[in-house]
Amino acid sequence: MSCLYINWNEINLFFLIGAMIAGILATMSISFITRYSRIKQDSALGIILTVFFGIGIVLLTQIQHSASGNQSGLDKFLFGQAASMVHSDVYTMAGISLFLIGVSIVFFKEFKLLSFDPGFAKGIGLPTMILDQFIMLLLVIAVVIGIQAVGVVLMAALLITPAVSARYWTEKLHVMIILAGLFGGTSGLIGTIISTWANNLPTGPLIVLSATSIFVVSIVLAPSRGVLAKAMRQKRAKTEILNQQQLKQAIKDGNA
């Protein structure tokens, strides 16, 4: 029975497999709901998220056999424990990360087509359904190993924020991917360094806050898409129109 008391501190093979099965089931249910009913993506996501979480809590309380016993150990699962990882965890994570990067490089062309024009991808004979599920599988793997470091909620931040920041700097997918990876890695480094400055600073949230800072810098400073660049463009356009109007006025005055 000891395996029922889940030790979140180590990357447990059973835990990984269980999480992966649940993750695959969840992504498949979401695509089933959006494909075969008029429920939109966001609602399908929310339904699967909460119902799966509910089932998880029910199972957990069943294991512990107390109706109100708060989910012991769940807080570590929710907030992450980057500081308590050991050497072997790091090797496992590094290996899986390298694997994910390798797969993304090999299937780069297919994934690119699938993201930009799924209709065309289907037209030229790519198995879009399988590829879709394959991306989801990679995502699930990334999430499952990331939960260790930053916890379940903030995992979402590491998936979204660096990518959104990278989107601001470029219009090319491969540049965006490399930038996103760099931004994510940098936030991990900065967050971890800051968390060593004082006692009791949690690593996961600080990593997320570093990623958010990069996002804010990107949204303000990025060339052509950033707020500053847009404001400057607007100003330039305004002065140009003003100049033209003045010129017209001057010509009119000259004619008169």
Binding site: S43, F53, I55, N70, L154, A157, N200, L206
Partner: protein, 288 residues
């Protein structure tokens, strides 16, 4: 015996007020906003606690509601700036949540907040936290808080039903008719924020998020008319609360978890068997 009724009543009230605003969120493709708010308000709770020094739920609720509206405002701002709506929600709520966790860790000596407790209030304990005026026991606090938010929701949505309806289905036309679309957007978001905050303190975040989305989506599969959709979603919500409590009692399992499981089960059945938009009937119709 009384406790059973109180818990079911609290569950039903949470379900009704959540599904009332949930219908509009599902229609506007903003379902995840409830999830975002329920996490993002953590710094609001911590700051309210640090400023006031009390763990009075009213003060915390105000702090949380303020941050809830700031969350919505930030999400909207990034969206106007060209970030996709789901990405914008993800960026904002995770950043605020991270800020909250850091605040809790920084002031850990002053803040005696149990994160588990803040995020996952337990409906089983709600009946014990009673509301007392002049020594008179007036029933659980949660019933009063959630009940008054429910009434507020009904009042505001009832008063501006036409405006909300038009803003959800055709914001461009609403704007053309002179309805202040932005104002109603923020009014609805304030209601969502208040509902989330008031409910999850007593029943836990996951139940609130579930009750906002699942019953409304169930109702969305059953009808094409907004008013009927609201009624159906409330019925589905209340049924999940009552049946869920019954199952939790039978199986000795988490109450919130069981309520969501029942809501999910109802959705699942509707997804396949709904006469209008169900998977099975659609297939059958295509065959004939």
């Amino acid at each position: 015996m009384m406790n059973h009724i109180w818990i079911m009543l609290i569950g039903a009230l949470v379900a009704s007020s959540c599904s009332l605003v949930g219908c509009f969120l599902v229609l506007r493709k903003m379902s995840m906003i409830g999830d975002a708010i329920s996490h993002a308000i953590l710094p609001g709770i911590v700051i309210a606690f640090l400023l006031s020094g009390t763990r009075d739920s009213f003060v915390m609720m105000i702090g949380a509601a303020v941050i809830g509206i700031i969350t919505v405002f930030l999400i909207q701002m990034f969206q106007n700036n060209g970030v996709q709506s789901d990405a914008s929600i993800g960026v904002v709520f995770t950043a605020l949540f991270a800020g909250g966790v850091v605040l809790v860790s920084l002031f850990t000596r002053q803040v005696d907040l149990d994160l588990d407790c803040v995020l996952y209030g337990e409906i089983a304990y709600a009946p014990w936290d009673t509301f007392i005026i002049n020594g008179m026991e007036l029933g659980p606090k949660a019933v009063w808080i959630v009940g008054s938010i429910f009434l507020l929701n009904i009042l505001v949505i009832g008063l501006f039903y036409k405006q909300f309806k038009l803003c959800s289905f055709d914001p461009a036309m609403a704007a053309a008719l002179g309805i202040p679309v932005v104002f109603f957007h923020y009014l609805l978001m304030s209601l969502v924020s208040l509902t989330t905050v008031s409910s999850f303190e007593s029943v836990g975040a996951i139940l609130v998020v579930g009750m906002i989305i699942v019953p409304a989506a169930t109702a969305y599969l059953l009808t094409d008319r907004l008013f009927i959709m609201i009624i159906y979603s409330m019925i589905a919500g209340i049924a999940s609360a009552v049946l869920g409590y019954y199952f939790a009692y039978l199986m000795d399992a988490s109450i919130a978890g069981c309520m969501i499981m029942v809501a999910g089960f109802l959705f699942f059945i509707t997804l396949f068997a709904s006469p209008k938009h169900g998977v099975l009937f659609k297939k059958w119709r295509r065959k004939n």
